[in-house]
Symmetry: C2
Subunit: 495 residues, 2 copies
């Protein structure tokens, strides 16, 4: 746990005139260094009302080269934002590595606004802070630097400031009824601020308390805090060397492989029975998806499985039951360069469905603990902490009413070979197989271990894994339909 600092300094006009050109030069230097740094910087300026957050940001923004900065403000959520999990709007506004984002009205503003409302529920505030803490810790673990300044003003100074603004006809518009109300409830806001800072103070994202009475002193203090934190962070966070492929994949949870191996692969179903049952389940699924949409519940399907296990076929059967206009299939391949410049979860956040829609992921965020672990694209500490991160991601979806279903389609190594060969021999299926598939096949046991760990470590009641024996394609497709119907029906009954 980091210690939060407190700065109270008065800067004279004369000193300011000397200091500002120095600070500007240092800021430009920061931006030049940041350009090639392997992390983004977030500068959060928070504090209760009327502490001059906007003025401070305008000033400091003016000192920076505008080409490497973006200032984010949050207005009331748009309807596109309201239709998605709480943190979506903040994920939308994250700077990529090498850039600086300045936040006036960050995730803290909304939390504070809610908490200071009449009859606010303290448990809700606590929950909001936990969510923020998690969000920031995720970014910090990924290397981000979050510099957080809390602007403070004594009640007396606040009164002076509001009165002064009101007395000038050119600034009077800036004082709102809300400001005076916040002033009346000064103590309550102070307490909320303290609670908030205590709950969200951590190394890499620690709070600096800055007295805002002297505006020059405030501007200097924020800038110095940013410069200092950056210098420290920049020294410590060089781009780590690529991990390289690990020599061995050892199971974290050996019971995972056991579970996989226990799957009965001899299940099958006749063609005629398949058609009969399929149509029944398709009809049912169609109804359920429609009901879910009516209740504004989204559905997220995740498909993972061995190459050639039949993910595509199963997905196609699913989409047959769903109105095309409400359904989106997202094949997850290599990230684009924009995606690579962000946290690995960013690419999944950006495509989250609006409430009431269905999204089907053909491969997913689980690549982090499968291919990235095995090929060494993620370092050990990265994929190790990913289980928790993925759980939390799905938990946030589920909190927002999203029904999450995850399928692992399982086949034997022999069946895979048969299917690969069949694909090679069939003209219009040949495009479905490439060298990478053969390479992956050579690492069957490494995948087995990683899949086993994944199935145990990310199997949650809010986002369970369904293991589907897929040696018989018809059986697998039917299972997917049936399990989907059951889970959606249960979720709709509960919620």
């Amino acid at each position: 746990m980091a210690k939060s600092r407190s700065i109270r300094n008065k800067v004279s006009k004369k000193d300011y005139e000397v200091r500002v050109p120095e600070l500007r030069e240092q800021l430009i230097h920061l931006q030049v260094q940041l350009k090639n740094a392997p992390f983004p910087v977030l500068l959060v300026v928070a504090g209760v009302e009327s502490t001059g957050k906007g003025d401070a940001i305008n000033t400091i923004n003016g000192w920076l080269d505008p080409r490497g900065v973006e200032v984010f403000a949050f207005h009331p959520p748009t309807d596109e934002e309201s239709a998605r999990p709480y943190m979506w709007r903040y994920w939308r506004c994250l700077p990529p590595r090498g850039r600086l984002g300045i936040y006036t009205g960050s995730w803290y503003t909304e939390a504070l606004r809610e908490a200071s409302a009449k009859n606010a529920d303290p448990a809700k505030f606590k929950h909001a802070l936990q969510r923020i803490e998690h969000f920031e810790s995720l970014l910090v673990a990924d290397g981000a630097l979050i510099v957080k300044c809390w602007l403070h003003l004594s009640q007396e100074a606040q009164h002076k400031k509001l009165t002064k603004l009101e007395s000038n006809s050119r600034t009077a518009w800036r004082v709102t009824a809300q400001d005076w109300e916040a002033h009346q409830n000064y103590d309550q806001h102070e307490t909320l601020g303290k609670t908030l800072r205590k709950a969200t103070n951590r190394t890499g994202a620690s709070w600096t308390l800055i007295d805002s009475e002297n505006e020059r002193g405030r501007n200097v203090a924020i800038t110095e805090t940013l410069l200092e934190a950056f210098a420290h962070h920049h020294k410590q966070h060089r781009a780590p060397p690529p991990a390289g492929r690990p020599t061995e994949i050892t199971p974290l949870r050996p019971e995972g492989i056991t579970k996989l191996e226990a799957l009965p692969l001899d299940k099958n179903i006749s063609a005629s029975e398949y058609v009969k049952k399929r149509d029944r389940w398709l009809g049912e699924l169609n109804q359920l998806v429609r009901q879910a949409a009516k209740k504004e519940r989204s559905i997220v399907f995740v498909f993972e499985g061995w190459d050639a296990a039949g993910k595509g076929g199963a997905i196609r059967r699913l989409t047959n039951a769903i109105e095309a206009r409400n359904c989106r299939v997202i094949p997850v391949a290599k990230p684009t360069d924009e995606e690579k410049a962000h946290h690995y979860l960013w690419r999944f956040w950006r495509h989250l469905p609006q409430a009431g829609r269905v999204t089907i992921y053909d491969r997913s965020w689980y690549g982090r603990v499968l291919v990235e672990r095995i090929e060494g694209f993620a370092r050990e500490e990265e994929w190790r902490r990913a289980y928790e991160e993925l759980n939390d991601f799905e938990h946030q979806l589920s909190e927002n009413g999203v029904i999450v279903l995850k399928f692992w389609l399982h086949i034997s190594k022999e069946e895979q070979l048969r299917r690969f060969q069949h694909r090679m021999e069939t003209e219009y299926k040949r495009h479905k197989i490439n060298d990478e598939d053969w390479r992956n096949r050579e690492q069957w046991s490494e995948y087995e271990t990683s899949v086993g760990d994944m199935l145990i470590l990310t199997n949650k009641s809010y986002a369970p894994w369904y293991l589907v024996p897929a040696e018989d394609k018809r059986y697998a497709r039917l299972q997917v339909l049936k399990l989907a119907c059951r889970r959606i029906a249960a979720a709709l009954q509960k919620g």
Copy 2:
């Protein structure tokens, strides 16, 4: 002008069972070929109400490999969409090259809905169709294939269909009051459809009229139309060879260079006078921007100019006058790989500001007719047609109430050399200069010609170019502030 085709075919159940597997195989083959094709495919299924657009798309979508397709539907505009130019929501939903987008409820739905309302203005419909025609022709010129099917149903068949749907308790919900209303006004809808098809029929985006009474026939006809159009297009649209740098840049409009050369570069202003005037204009600009925001008018600033002409400095002075939270500076550098996979204007559409915000582009879409023309990144027919495309883009902004200001900052070749040398000598400015700047400098006269053409061909009343002598930085910054104030004030007075 392409001829629209008309298909009316009845397919028996037995024939259908034979035909569908064939079509599916051909569709998969199409998708495999498309994957590496240098163009996107858009399948638009339109038609009046109750012709089974949704059913047809669901069926055909089910025949495709869901991994390479996306189905787009348009619900009533979200508030993020309403706050931007009309076509923004469609630009958001364009498939990249190598992918297929299927549109149920496309840009045609909204145009038809508006036109069939009571007291609809025929001029507005005409305008909407022109806008659509322009949008499609832009994509087609860029190589896109747009396959458009208009589903037709006789009034009698429509009646039969609605009655049948209503009589079944499982499908009755699909018939709305709107459907019956459309049925009552069958003739009006027919006429609108005819007008629409006539106005938007072109090679690469032609209409096929398909009778929808026999559903099997309809599904087959749409698929065959798509397959046929694709086969034809695929043969003709191989990736063109890169253009290569042109041997010579000849002016299209020689008066452009004359205009540039006529700029008086000896203008300057003393430091003390500068400060006085600057503060006056900054104050005025601040007020004007605030007024614009109140009226939900966005402002778009475009900065172009020689390397080292002082774009960054001028932008920074501007941002000093604007609330950081309402202002965004977008430096335009190389496109990302996602951007490269789309039409060159896509990257600018995607970042368009919401109503009431200020966006400052540091370099812009004019790269198409400057660097891309000179370096041969765009082929001659591409940069030649770009002038019109850019004019139309800005016209759409202006139609939406956006105030567009474009600045060309002009310096002499000698002054540029002085500034380059100064940058090399100054520690914290060295990052601002690189080999590319020196290379660009060698092509001074090629740029001069291209800039001249741009200034003449894209100087419109709704988006005028301001030529700013920038040999003296203070003079240039002041000019920018002054011109910005005048234009914004004038625009607010008019609108």
